[in-house]
């Protein structure tokens, strides 16, 4: 057991069952080892499986989802087999070992509860012994540090703007100092200025807590700004993984290249950006590379198998590198 790896995912498969015999493949043989203390970026668009991956990791998958494989969380003193936990074990571990910042923070706060009560109930459900006065002081300090006024604690969430609610939810996730924080599209739906604010906030929290962040977002410029390494997902698979600098300066997979090129850069005249991906309405591929139907470099062997190319920490699933 390598203590440096806080999360180890082995051969993870997830299927949404539609009927007894058929289902949709949400995750297809995912293998990741996540190192402690890093900000790990998961990049993927709709249908890539990133949402399902988070659902597995936070143990909030619906009963219709069939999961195979192994996910283990390795802490200093113990190792947790995530998929075999019972509901009550999950309830006691969440917000201590891991916490979660959901997508659409706009609607994630109870509209009928004051902000301070939301903090109180979250922490109290995990630790009955906390002192309410100390807690209030702690929350007030945290609020001030991120530029939220103390008086917000007595507000109901409808008085806060989207960006402020997002910051409150981030604070909610970090106040118990968990080992892992999962972030699901923390900047989507926010305008540029608020987005920058949130990113800088996350960076400073990470510097302070020195724990592990798993950041899932389809916006790759966010990964460029804050992630230490990036895994790119497509149709339930991880098609490329590398350190941030490496993946942005030397992307290998055609899909990754397209993602990076799709971001217009102010001041740079690149002219018309061609999508570079063939656009289809229904995409079906059972065998071989999942991307072949959209790939402009598709070769006959892509129907049968996919080659995994590794160089140092950079890994990519693409037949273009078979000869390397």
């Amino acid at each position: 057991m390598n203590v440096e790896n806080i999360i180890k995912i082995e051969h993870l498969r997830a299927i949404y069952k539609i009927s007894k015999t058929s289902g949709i493949n949400a995750l297809d043989d995912i293998n990741i080892e996540m190192k402690k203390g890093q900000i790990i970026g998961i990049a993927g668009e709709s249908g890539s499986g990133k949402t399902s991956l988070l659902k597995v990791l936070t143990h909030s998958f619906p009963p219709s989802m069939e999961i195979k494989g192994n996910v283990s969380i390795n802490l200093q003193d113990k190792s947790i087999n995530l998929l075999k936990l019972s509901d009550s074990q999950i309830q006691s571990l969440c917000w201590k070992v891991w916490s979660y910042v959901p997508q659409a923070a706009m609607n994630s706060l109870n509209p009928m509860a004051k902000i301070k009560d939301i903090f109180w109930e979250t922490l109290e459900s995990h630790d009955k012994t906390i002192n309410s006065y100390e807690l209030e002081k702690q929350i007030e300090n945290a609020f001030e540090k991120v530029g939220l006024s103390k008086k917000f604690l007595n507000f109901y969430s409808n008085r806060l703007s989207g960006g402020m609610r997002q910051r409150v939810i981030i604070l909610l996730a970090t106040i118990s100092r968990p080992n892992i924080i999962y972030l699901d599209e923390p900047t989507t739906g926010l305008d540029l200025v608020t987005q920058r604010d949130v990113i800088q906030l996350l960076q400073s929290i990470h510097n302070e807590l020195n724990n592990t962040f798993i950041l899932v977002t389809h916006d790759i410029s966010i990964h460029a700004q804050i992630a230490d390494l990036v895994h790119v997902m497509y149709k339930g698979q991880i098609i490329e993984s590398a350190l941030t600098n490496e993946i942005f300066h030397n992307p290998l997979h055609p899909y990754t290249k397209n993602l990076i090129n799709s971001v217009p850069i102010i001041g740079e005249h690149r002219g018309k950006i061609e999508p570079g991906i063939k656009i289809l309405s229904t995409e079906m591929s059972a065998q071989g590379c999942k991307f072949k139907d959209r790939c402009q470099f598709a070769m006959p062997q892509c129907d049968k198998y996919v080659y995994t190319y590794r160089l140092n920490d950079h890994e990519v699933k693409c037949n273009l590198y078979e000869s390397h």
Binding site: L192, V193, T194, Q200, Q225, V263
Partner: protein
């Protein structure tokens, strides 16, 4: 006789000159009331004026709460302005006669943010398109309708069969292109795209932006492109020939410029901050400074002076007292005291030089 002819000629030229401005927003304000018992009034749109010419792309940029959605609702006629007017092809929209209103509804087509919620999930797409055609009375015969539908599908680069299919069978990017196709069926003069690509995956966005730019060039179609994402806005400006960019903050226009000028040479401190806040796709270019934190939105709306003064790093005393006028600077117009000839801004200018 000759005098009469002259008069007719003059009025015709005047008409043509006025027609160049497709849409004119003249001192438009919209006031709302917030709260049940203790209501406060605030102006979601405060004395906004700009023109959109035929075949021009106007980029309206601003963060959430700046008034851009309210403004688009005012233009579409969903809301009525509290003061000021909106002129379409020289005629005031609130004073339209019935047939003028009908033409307006046909010629000004919206494209909304959420592709899924703008189509009736129970209606088949092809049937839907046929209905749109016959509603607007564009074409009558079945074959002409089919021809028109094929033409617009081609223009939005959808090559798959839509016959018999429902909305949920398409992806988000495709539905947004179908929204554009639907708008095109009406032979519009102006498209109002309100955050049209915000909910679309990044890798599919560029395709839609390309289509919009092509339509603008091909059909001389004017577009009011509303977005909070500057890089998307820049791409549209870069691709197109005649563009204008307007930046809004808390209901007022803070900067306005043609072409790429606003992006390459931003004048207003807010515009600068927006451009700086665009996350770079190069990991080596990270943000340096931290920003001042936002104050409660509603308070900013009712500030006496410049609405940005609470967040502006260069705020001077006059900024808090009096709202700045719109000053002309080279290719741009800025609403900022830093660009006035009469105000003493030595301290602020020093700060500006240090930041550059």
């Amino acid at each position: 006789m000759i005098m009469k002819l002259n008069v007719i000629c003059m009025s015709h030229t005047k008409e043509v000159k006025e027609m160049e401005n497709l849409l004119e927003i003249i001192n438009v304000s919209k006031q709302f009331r917030s709260g049940l018992y203790l209501g406060t009034n605030f102006k979601a749109v405060d004395n906004v004026s700009f023109n959109l010419e035929n075949g021009e792309i106007l980029l309206l940029v601003g963060e959430s709460g700046c008034g851009k959605t309210t403004l688009s609702n005012l233009i579409l006629g969903i809301l009525k302005p509290s003061s000021g007017f909106i002129k379409y092809k020289g005629k005031i929209t609130s004073k339209f006669r019935r047939n003028e209103k009908r033409s307006f509804i046909r010629e000004v087509q919206p494209i909304f943010q959420d592709p899924y919620s703008t189509f009736n999930p129970f209606v088949r797409i092809d049937y839907y398109f046929e209905e749109v055609c016959s509603n607007f009375g564009i074409t009558r015969s079945k074959s002409e309708i089919e021809q028109k539908i094929n033409e617009v599908l081609n223009q939005v680069k959808i090559d798959t069969e839509i016959k018999g299919k429902f909305v949920h069978q398409f992806s988000g990017g495709q539905i947004q292109r179908l929204s554009i196709a639907r708008a095109l069926l009406a032979n519009p003069s102006l498209l109002i795209a309100d955050e049209a690509v915000t909910m679309i995956d990044a890798s599919l966005r560029v395709g839609i932006l390309n289509i919009l730019s092509d339509l603008n060039k091909l059909l001389n179609l004017a577009i009011l492109f509303i977005t909070h994402d500057l890089s998307v806005g820049y791409y549209m400006v870069e691709l197109s020939e005649r563009t204008k960019t307007v930046v809004m903050y808390r209901g007022t226009i803070v900067e306005e410029a043609t072409g790429e000028n606003l992006f390459l040479n931003p004048l207003h401190p807010y515009t600068r901050q927006l451009i700086e806040s665009v996350p770079s796709v190069d990991p080596n270019k990270k943000w340096h400074s931290a920003m001042k934190h936002a104050v409660l939105e509603l308070e900013e709306f009712n500030l006496k002076g410049c609405k940005y003064s609470k967040r502006c790093p260069f705020a001077m005393k006059i900024c808090e007292e009096k709202e700045p006028n719109l000053f002309s600077v080279e290719h741009s117009r800025v609403r900022c005291w830093l660009y006035s000839d009469t105000v003493d801004k030595s301290i602020a200018l020093n700060k500006l030089k240090k930041n550059q």
